[in-house]
């Protein structure tokens, strides 16, 4: 048998990310003696949606919170390893965490709508950095359009944001995150409390948005990850077990643990 042919067949299919927007190296997180994450190496591709899946407690949310220094807001957590945004260490002493979070925005599981108008909710981040040249109205509209909400609420911008439906509130939070024009958007189970219609709208919006920026989505919904992501990362007990292009991972996972999780044998 031809040895080169043999090697060709043996080589795993390429999972390389040539030009990552975020590079994670040897990331670890502990809480006292408990290990939440260990030895995680990931390259997050630009203009693509990466889904993070795994059973409860596997470290997927902790991983997400490391990507924009949110992890620092929990004092008992200790982080090791590096996270670089376009080559720059986001945890370097001279880096302002607020600047990191403008570049790398985050949307949470439950919508965090402020008790103000729809308009002010989206304008919130923009007002924090007053820029005389900025047309706030235009930026709010653009963000609402990108979040797929504009056509539904264009005539109601002064209405209280809390009067919106759950799905609309979640998309409003995404519009608010988009208003400051992040390059990366982190989402932690954004549809877990939405009904099927609300879920579909958020998914449609993310599918369009993933061509513009990098999105990292934590989801406990395996079918959702399969539907809308370009890459999938599977975590188990604080370790990244497997990652790769989503169709490949869902068709023929390399690792038995991944196989057992996505076929519903545990979790």
């Amino acid at each position: 048998m031809n040895p080169t042919l043999l090697e060709g067949a043996a080589a795993p299919k390429s999972t390389a990310v040539p030009d990552p927007v975020i590079t994670v190296e040897d990331l670890g997180v502990t809480a006292g003696s408990q290990i939440l994450l260990r030895g995680v190496n990931v390259r997050v591709p630009d203009r693509a949606l990466s889904a993070v899946i795994g059973p409860s407690g596997c470290g997927k949310t902790t991983f997400l919170r490391c990507l924009n220094r949110m992890v620092e807001l929990t004092p008992e957590l200790r982080r090791t390893g590096s996270v670089r945004y376009r080559g720059e260490d986001i945890y370097a002493p001279d880096i302002d965490p607020a600047r990191v979070r403008r570049r790398i925005g985050m949307v949470f599981q439950r919508s965090t709508v402020f008790p103000t108008s729809i308009f002010e909710n989206v304008a919130f981040g923009l007002r924090l950095e007053p820029d005389a040249t900025m047309d706030i109205g235009a930026r709010v509209e653009a963000s609402l359009r990108r979040a797929g909400l504009w056509s539904e609420i264009r005539d109601d911008l002064d209405r209280p944001a809390l009067s919106l439906s759950g799905g609309q509130q979640q998309r409003l939070c995404i519009a608010r995150a988009l208003a400051v024009e992040p390059r990366v958007l982190l989402l932690d189970e954004p549809t877990s409390s939405l009904d099927p219609v609300g879920t579909r709208k958020v998914e449609e919006m993310l599918s369009a948005l993933r061509n513009e920026i990098a999105i990292v989505l934590v989801s406990h919904n395996i079918a959702q990850a399969a539907r809308i992501s370009d890459r999938t990362l599977f975590f188990y007990e604080g370790r990244l077990i497997e990652e790769g292009p989503t169709p490949q991972l869902f068709e023929s996972p390399r690792e038995r643990l991944t196989e057992e999780y996505i076929t519903g044998r545990f979790g």
Partner: protein, 233 residues
């Protein structure tokens, strides 16, 4: 840390019962298709036009199997949204039933070659050997599919060349008979057709084996053969 079982235990899932049922249906269709080839060949060899006619009638049920199992597999895909080996099995089944349908159709074609019975002639001893080998390949392919055993499936390919060899031998023997002329021409011509159908039965057994390798391992046959260590068994 995990809910609903731990990895490695392979606890029974509700989906497993549906998978078993789907596989059972494929085996049922396989037995039906095989019966058509075996009885079609018997009818041809014994010049039994009643049996041939009966085999021809079985084609209706064969078509029904195809339609029903396709529907069941599609419903399974919609309802369960399976992943990994589960989705590979369901999509493989969609292909395998097409191969089984073809196998059954070749049995039908062999039976049709019996009607009306061709003039009696000294039997070509290679024809029953070939029928035996081709049907044994289908049986082995169905066994490998049932067990989801890629090694057993890969071995089926080794049986294909001897069947092709027999086909070529029957071809040259029967052409020799035909050149002798007389009543032998028609019988010999039909034997050529039957030999060709049986050769195709063996080919479709290989196709089933190919899908079984994919379903069981996620790898194509060529990857599997070249790279045993890369493949999880």
């Amino acid at each position: 840390m995990t809910v609903g079982g731990t990895p490695g235990e392979s606890p029974a899932r509700p989906i497993d019962q549906e998978i078993r049922a789907l596989k059972g249906r494929v085996l049922e269709m396989g037995a039906w298709a095989l019966g058509m080839v075996e009885d079609g060949t018997r009818a041809f060899r014994t010049r039994d036009s009643n049996l041939a006619e009966e085999v021809v009638r079985r084609d209706v049920r064969l078509d029904l199997f195809d339609v029903e199992i396709e529907q069941e597999a599609v419903r399974f895909l919609i309802r369960r949204q399976p992943a990994a080996r589960d989705v590979r099995l369901a999509t493989s089944i969609l292909k395998i039933i097409t191969y089984l349908d073809r196998i059954g159709r070749y049995g039908y074609d062999v039976a049709r070659a019996t009607d009306p019975p061709p003039p009696p002639l000294e039997e070509n001893p290679d024809l029953p050997v070939m029928a035996e080998r081709a049907t044994a390949m289908v049986r082995a392919a169905l066994d490998a599919f049932d067990a989801q055993d890629p090694r057993r499936a890969a071995r089926i390919y080794e049986e294909d060349e001897p069947v092709d060899e027999l086909h070529r031998k029957i071809l040259s023997d029967e052409i020799r008979r035909m050149t002798a002329g007389g009543a032998e021409v028609e019988t010999a011509a039909r034997r050529l057709m039957v030999s060709r159908y049986l050769e195709r039965v063996a080919d479709n057994a290989c196709k089933i084996a190919e899908k079984t390798i994919y379903s069981a391992t996620g790898h194509r046959r060529s990857e599997f053969l070249h790279d045993g260590k890369h493949v999880r068994l």
